[in-house]
Structures are given as structure tokens and as C-alpha cells.
């Protein structure tokens, strides 16, 4: 198959369908021909493609303040996937795929509140001022009729999944959350200036979206760092815009190997101190800065040794337990998102 990060996958009974969203190629991996014979020629590819695309959006949609790509609502994606999977009941590899999607939806609803409170579907607005309104309610400048249509779509979707849940004995009724889902302020916050005088050394390195799960950092952001006179390094990374509370992920900035080889395995998180703590950093190779998300920025600092000045570090991100997906092209990701749509 193709590069995982740009591949939309449909797991059918006996055959896996895939679409390379980067090249437009698609293919079928038949792994059990007699089983696949029950549907492969009878099901329109487009039905399977919609399921695959929504799964791809959930995983890779590059919500970004920098590129002005509004985040997608996980409730809408899960609801759409559940209904599309129901249309393919008996065709999916997983006989319980609909229930699974409904349970995911139920978990999102419990976290974010009912689907009916969702605003119009966020859209990609290329070239628009980044200081526009928050996701979900960002259609303020859009046509009111578009908004009404989108709301009607959401209402229809909510009704459809309610029936679907009834038909599968899944309870969707979520207790109203203590507070309504608060889409984060989609606008870029004013950058806090560095404290503590002029830095000894500073730099910034690109984010590798494949190194972190969805919804953690802005895929087009840069890892900005400064080494100060106090021999501490401060790191900031723009966070990914998300609908609702951001996932709590133990994000760590660390020094990439000097030779530029990509990190292939889950980096050892043991050297990372707890949030706010200072990890011992004898050299850039051991440099690990735990980051905390505050609003739209991840920030953290750690002590560094003098050798950091001798050899300029190159920083990357890691999440303990998460194996990086290699070769992700953030700019291409945004292009694909604009082609695929929300």
C-alpha cells in the first residue's frame, strides 16, 4: 500500500479498499477472495470511500490556525461514519462496526454534549484572515442561508443516528455536560514575549505531525526555543485547534539526533521530567522538555548543559507510547484537506 498518512482505508470482509489521497491512486487488497465475493462487485466504491474519508479526517484533518483550517467536530465525523457504516452492514470486516462507531459517538457526546448543539460544519476558508471567529460558530461572515442549511444537515444527522442507535440497542443519550462545548478561541493569541532578557541562543524547527496524535499541535507550527543566561531552554509550540477540551497528552520536546536520522521508535519517555519539572540534560542528546498546553500554546522549560551552546540542537516532538508515522508532509496534508473538504 501507500504512505499511511495520506491513505483512506475501508476494511471490508475479505478485502481492504484504499485510496491514496495524495496521488489519487486507489486499490483493493483482497485477503480472502471467497468472503469478498459477497460484496466486492456489488457495492458502489463511493459508499466505502465515504467511510474511509471520514476515518481519515478523524485521524489526519490538519486543523491549523496558521493555515486557517478549522478543526472538525468529532461528533459529526463519528455520526457520519456510523450512518455510512450502517449502509454497508454485512460488508465490513467487523460485523459490529456500526455499534463500535455508535459507542465512539456516545463517548464524544458525553464529553462534548449533544449533536444538536453543534454549530454549522466548520469549513476550510483558504486565504481568510486568521483572526476570524472560533470554529463551529465561525460562519459569522458566511451566508446566513448556508448556516441554516448546515444546521438542518446536523439536525437530520442527529435524527438519523438516534434511529440507528435505537436499531442497535446503543444508548446515545448523553448527560448534559456541565458547560456547553467551548470551541477554543480560534484566533491566534498574542505571543508572550520571552522573559529574562536576551537569549544566548534561539531557533525554531518544524513540527512533524506524524510524531504526535491528532489534535495535539498545529501541523504547520514550529517548535520555537530559546536558551537563556540561566542555562534553561524554553520551548513553545502552537497547539492544534480542537472542538471541545483538548486531549491531555504528555507532549515532550527533545533534541533530534545530530545526524538527522528520523526517530523510528517510541522515544524513551523516562528521561522526561513531570510537567513543570526540570529534566537533567547533560547534553543535547538527552535534552527533553515536557510541555504543557495552555490555551493555544504548548510551553515548557528545562535546564540545559553548556554543550547546548557548542552544538545547536534541532528539536522534535514525541508522545510517550506513540510510534511516529514517518514521512508526513504537513503542507501536503493541508492541500489534501482542501481537496477532500471537511
Amino acid at each position: 500500500m501507500t504512505a499511511p498518512w495520506r491513505t483512506a482505508v475501508f476494511e471490508g470482509a475479505g478485502a481492504t479498499l484504499w485510496w491514496d489521497l495524495g496521488t489519487g491512486e486507489d486499490g483493493v487488497d483482497v485477503w480472502d477472495a471467497p468472503r469478498a465475493a459477497g460484496w466486492l462487485d456489488a457495492v458502489p466504491r463511493e459508499m466505502a470511500r465515504q467511510v474511509a474519508l471520514d476515518a481519515w479526517r478523524e485521524a489526519w484533518w490538519p486543523g491549523s490556525r496558521i493555515a486557517d483550517v478549522a478543526p472538525l467536530d468529532p461528533r459529526v465525523l463519528a455520526a457520519r461514519r456510523a450512518t455510512a457504516l450502517a449502509a454497508l452492514d454485512g460488508v465490513t470486516d467487523d460485523d459490529a462496526a456500526v455499534e463500535r462507531a455508535l459507542r465512539e459517538l456516545a463517548a464524544h457526546l458525553a464529553r462534548l454534549g449533544p449533536l444538536a448543539t453543534v454549530g454549522p460544519r466548520p469549513t476550510v476558508r483558504p486565504g481568510q484572515d486568521t483572526a476570524s471567529g472560533p470554529a463551529g460558530t465561525s460562519a459569522a461572515n458566511a451566508e446566513a442561508s448556508t448556516e441554516a442549511t448546515a444546521s438542518a444537515e446536523i439536525a437530520a444527522l442527529a435524527e438519523r443516528v438516534r434511529e440507528l442507535a435505537d436499531d442497535h440497542g446503543v444508548v446515545l443519550a448523553a448527560p448534559a455536560p456541565a458547560e456547553a462545548p467551548q470551541p477554543e478561541d480560534y484566533a491566534l493569541a498574542a505571543r508572550g514575549g520571552p522573559a529574562g532578557g536576551a537569549p544566548l541562543l534561539e531557533g525554531s524547527d518544524p513540527v512533524d505531525p506524524g510524531a504526535v496524535p491528532q489534535g495535539v499541535v498545529d501541523p504547520l507550527g514550529r517548535i520555537a526555543w530559546q536558551v537563556r543566561l540561566s542555562m534553561t531552554i524554553e520551548v513553545t509550540v502552537p497547539a492544534a485547534p480542537v472542538v471541545g477540551a483538548p486531549p491531555a497528552v504528555p507532549l515532550v520536546a527533545f533534541a533530534l539526533p545530530a545526524d538527522g536520522t528520523p526517530v523510528t521508535g517510541p522515544a524513551d519517555g523516562a528521561s522526561a521530567a513531570g510537567p513543570g519539572g526540570h529534566a537533567p540534560a547533560p547534553g543535547t542528546g538527552g535534552l527533553a522538555v515536557p510541555l504543557r498546553r495552555r490555551g493555544d500554546v504548548w510551553r515548557g522549560e528545562a535546564a540545559v548543559g553548556p554543550d547546548v551552546l557548542a552544538r545547536r540542537p534541532r528539536l522534535g516532538l514525541r508522545v510517550p507510547g506513540f510510534t511516529p508515522v514517518l514521512g508526513v508532509d504537513a503542507a501536503r496534508l493541508v492541500e489534501i484537506a482542501r481537496e477532500v473538504g471537511p
Binding site: W31, A42, V43, G90, V325
Partner: protein, 509 residues
């Protein structure tokens, strides 16, 4: 991959084509592409129309021309029944909605009843709504035995004593491991099987690595010890060649091979071998060195179940009891007594065919590439590795971390569930069971990782599932559904750890 050869047709393709010939009348049983729903096939088409248990030649994955024609004609001949079933099902759903019932999956609960109604009444006519309503009421009859009833029953002192005695009696009279072996395996083992020794010290060597691996190794010509793995001890004491033959054949057919295993009682021998010290623990079926007699039980929680052999009678039954649609104490007593006796059987299963399947699963779960089934199960993990990256999920997709043991536990739950329901093992059942158990083991792990990522306050690291996942509880095993709610990663407990946060069975009491 079995190539489709001239003169054969894939069964699934024949069924799909025949189904589409039935037309719009079966829409309530079909998906948007006009194909049968998963449960239509599993609950109606296969068991009630095709009935491969009675017509084994129609159960194969590939059919010859004659069988393909017969299958098509069977489906078309059942057309009126199926259209009437669809109409009754739609009516039952309407009545369900009118009554505000939300419990259970309507397909699981109503499909077979709708088929019965179709048989009894033909197409719905006048009074149909009332008839359908009565049927719905009957399904959701409040007098049906529930998990809470089961608990009340088992915690009645006199009943608990009686069940305790039944367990003791059964365990006191357990067939010694050596005698559990069939006549075919004790003397004649031409292919180098490592069997139970006559003295009753069973095949699994005390260190839990030797004999079982040797069985598999001998069967496939691998150098003995190369595949040494504690997880295979379940296969000790049986004929590795026969097991391998089943695993090579079962994807397409395997009826003769299964029959051979059953006749030789290989499953009983392998199950009895688990009584050797350390063997059941190595297989993931018990936390104890030697499996103990089950408790009667006073509490059960589907999120905190011990390993299968360590489950109390209550824990073995509470998940499935309401689906058995028992009407009174007499039925309850029979089910409980049968379960008490089952616990003393090899593999703690009563049916030799089921023991054979579990034995085959314990070997296939090695994923050592030595049989067709093992290779296909292994391929599932390879596909999962790609899908995990495509879904941007933490990897953890290797079959390590107790996944084999989880697979075997899940397979046991499914087989025990079949015994409770008295479901016959159809011709194509072996591979469906093995493949289905591995699939849900993989998917439930994926679910848990996914839930961990979206849950605020939790890291994405995959909880290492050392104990039964919620889906291994037997809940939902009546149909196709698994019952692992998203975000129940905490449902994992180490085998044998004390159940914490237990709730009343079914949450009803």
C-alpha cells in the same frame, strides 16, 4: 489464498446474488447496497434457510456447481418466507418503538422470531400489529430470568450449597488426564506426537515450554523447540498432526479434519493437559498454578472478570442468562447444574467439538506461520499495523502483550456461549470462530487505544491487556455484537486479581 478454480463459486457470492434476486421485499433485512445485513446472514439465512449443519456441502467457502445451484434455489424457494420475515421484522420494530423499548439489539432479539411468525402466519395480515406487539412483549417479558434473578438464586443458601455439591461431585470424578485421551492417540501416534504419559503426568512439561511446542513442531516439521512458547501448552497431549490438518483445511472446509479430532478426543486430551502445574496459567486461562474449583459466586461485574477458569458459576452465566429466555426456576436450575459440571470438563467445555476448536485455537494463536489458519491470523496483525498508522493511532499492533491469551479467552467465551445456547457447530464454523475471535481481540485493542487518545487526562499509551477485556465476558455473544464500550480500558484486570468495583449483575439489582 484459495484461488477460485473452474467449476467452483464462492459461497458468499452465490448468497449475495440470490439475495438480490429476492427484490425489494427483503429491504428491511438488507443494507443500502441491497445485500443481506450481517445478522440477516448469521441469524436467518444461515441457520434457518441454508442450515449448513444439516447440509454440510453448502457450508463450504467454495461451492461446486451443483451446490451453488442448490444454494441459490434454497434461497429463492425461501423468498416468500424471507419477504414475510422482513415485513414482520418491520412491524416488530414499530411495536418496539411504540412501547418505548430501547433494550437490546432488535436484530438480535427479533430476527428469528420474525422468521417464526412468517412461518406461522405468512405475510402480515389484519391483526398483524397486535401479533407483532405480542411477540415484542414476549421478548421483553418482565418475568424472564435476568442476571439479577440468577444472582438471587445462586445466593440462596440452600441453592448455593447444592451447586457447591454438584461442583465437588463433578471435580471429584474428573476423568484423569491420561484416560481423557481417546483410543486413537494412546498407542498409535505415527507422526511423533508428544502425548499424555500413561502415568497421568501430562504432556506439558513442568517448565511449561517443552511438550506443547513439540506437538506443534512435530506436526509441521519445524525443529522442536524452535517455536517453544508457553502459550501452546494447551495443545499438549493431543495429536499435533491432526490439529495442523484442521488448521490447514478449516478456512475452506475442514469438516473431515474436525471429525477426526473429535473422534480421537484430541480436544479432551489437550484440555486435560491444562491441569498440569502452570499450564492453564501459561495459556492465559487461569491465574493459578493449577485451576481451582469454581466458586458459586455472589457478585459479578463485566468490567472485572477473572480469567475463564477462575470465574465463579455466577460470573460464567450472568452475561448470557437473559438471552437464554428462561422462564422459571426449573430452567435456571438446569443451566446452573450444567455449568457446574462443565467446569470439571477438559477446557471446562462440555462439547468435544468445541474442545477441538479451542485446542486448534491454542495452536493457531502461536501465529507461527505453520498452518493456513495461523498465517491468516498473522496477516490480520500485519493489516492492523498499517491501519493503526493510517488512523494515526499508537502502534502496539504486534500480537505480543498477552494478545494470544486474550484471543484464547475470547474463543473460550464464544464456545461456552454456544454451549449455553445449544448452538450446533456448522461446517464453516471453525474458521469463523477462530477468525472472529482474533478480529475482535484486535479491534477491541484498537478501540481502547482510540478511547485513550480522546479521553482528556489520559495518555495514549496502550494499556497492556493482561486480563480479559470486557468483550471476553460473553455479553452480546448471542448475536454478533461485542459489548466493549469505548473508553473502558480500565475494564482490564489481571487474571485472578480481585474484582473491584463490582456491580450487581446486569446493573439491575
Amino acid at each position: 489464498m484459495t484461488a477460485e478454480t473452474a467449476g467452483t463459486a464462492p459461497r458468499a457470492g452465490v448468497l449475495a446474488a440470490a439475495w438480490r434476486e429476492l427484490g425489494d421485499g427483503v429491504a428491511p433485512l438488507s443494507n443500502a447496497a441491497g445485500l443481506p445485513l450481517a445478522r440477516t446472514t448469521k441469524l436467518v439465512l444461515d441457520p434457518l434457510v441454508v442450515r449448513p449443519a444439516q447440509r454440510p456441502h453448502l457450508g463450504r467457502a467454495l461451492l461446486d456447481g451443483t451446490s451453488a445451484r442448490e444454494l441459490r434455489e434454497l434461497v429463492l424457494a425461501a423468498g416468500d418466507d424471507l419477504r414475510a420475515t422482513a415485513a414482520w421484522f418491520a412491524l416488530m420494530k414499530r411495536e418496539r418503538r411504540a412501547r418505548g423499548i430501547t433494550a437490546g439489539n432488535p436484530q438480535d432479539l427479533y430476527f428469528q422470531r420474525a422468521y417464526e411468525l412468517a412461518h406461522r402466519h405468512g405475510h402480515p395480515a389484519q391483526d398483524a400489529a397486535a401479533v407483532a406487539g405480542k411477540e415484542v412483549d414476549d421478548v421483553h417479558d418482565a418475568d424472564r430470568v435476568t442476571a439479577a434473578d440468577l444472582r438471587d438464586y445462586l445466593t440462596t443458601p440452600a441453592v448455593a450449597d447444592a451447586v457447591r455439591r454438584t461442583i465437588d461431585e463433578a471435580w471429584d470424578h474428573r476423568v484423569p488426564p491420561a484416560a481423557a485421551q481417546g483410543p486413537g492417540t494412546v498407542s498409535a501416534r505415527p507422526d511423533g506426537t508428544v502425548g499424555a504419559s500413561p502415568g497421568g503426568t501430562v504432556g506439558a512439561s513442568p517448565d511449561g515450554t517443552g511438550a506443547g511446542a513439540a506437538v506443534a513442531a512435530a506436526a509441521v516439521g519445524v525443529v522442536a523447540g524452535a517455536v517453544a512458547d508457553a502459550a501452546v501448552v494447551g495443545a499438549a497431549g493431543c495429536d499435533g498432526g491432526r490439529v495442523a490438518a484442521l488448521l490447514d483445511a478449516c478456512v475452506v472446509d475442514g469438516q473431515a479434519e474436525l471429525a477426526a479430532l473429535v473422534a480421537a478426543r484430541d480436544g479432551a486430551a489437550a484440555g486435560a493437559a491444562l491441569r498440569a502445574p502452570g499450564a492453564a496459567r501459561a495459556a492465559g486461562m487461569s491465574a493459578h498454578d493449577t485451576p481451582r474449583r469454581p466458586e458459586v459466586g455472589t457478585r459479578a461485574s463485566k468490567s472485572a472478570l477473572p480469567a475463564p477458569f477462575d470465574r465463579s458459576v455466577l460470573e460464567r452465566l450472568f452475561g448470557a442468562i437473559s438471552a437464554l429466555e428462561l422462564d422459571g426456576t426449573a430452567g435456571l436450575r438446569d443451566v446452573v447444574t450444567a455449568e457446574a459440571r462443565r467446569s470439571a470438563e477438559p477446557w471446562q467445555l462440555a462439547d468435544e467439538a468445541h474442545r477441538a476448536v479451542l485446542t486448534a485455537g491454542s495452536v493457531a494463536g502461536l501465529l507461527d506461520g505453520s498452518t493456513d489458519a495461523a498465517r491468516r491470523l498473522e496477516a490480520r496483525w500485519r493489516r492492523e499495523a498499517f491501519v493503526r498508522r493510517a488512523l494515526r493511532l499508537p502502534d502496539g499492533s504486534g500480537p505480543a502483550d498477552g494478545a494470544r491469551e486474550a484471543f484464547l479467552r475470547r474463543l473460550w467465551v464464544r464456545l461456552q456461549g454456544r454451549e449455553l445456547r445449544g448452538a450446533p457447530l456448522a461446517a464453516d464454523g471453525v474458521w469463523d470462530l477462530l477468525d472472529g475471535a482474533m478480529r475482535s481481540t484486535i479491534l477491541d485493542r484498537r478501540d481502547r487505544v482510540k478511547a485513550g487518545l480522546t479521553r482528556a487526562g489520559a495518555g495514549p499509551g496502550e494499556a497492556v491487556p493482561t486480563g480479559p477485556a470486557p468483550g471476553e465476558t460473553g455479553l452480546g455473544e448471542t448475536g454478533l455484537g461485542e459489548t466493549t464500550p469505548a473508553g473502558t480500558a480500565s475494564g482490564d484486570t489481571a487474571p485472578g486479581s480481585t474484582a473491584q468495583g463490582s456491580t450487581a449483575p446486569g446493573g439491575t439489582a
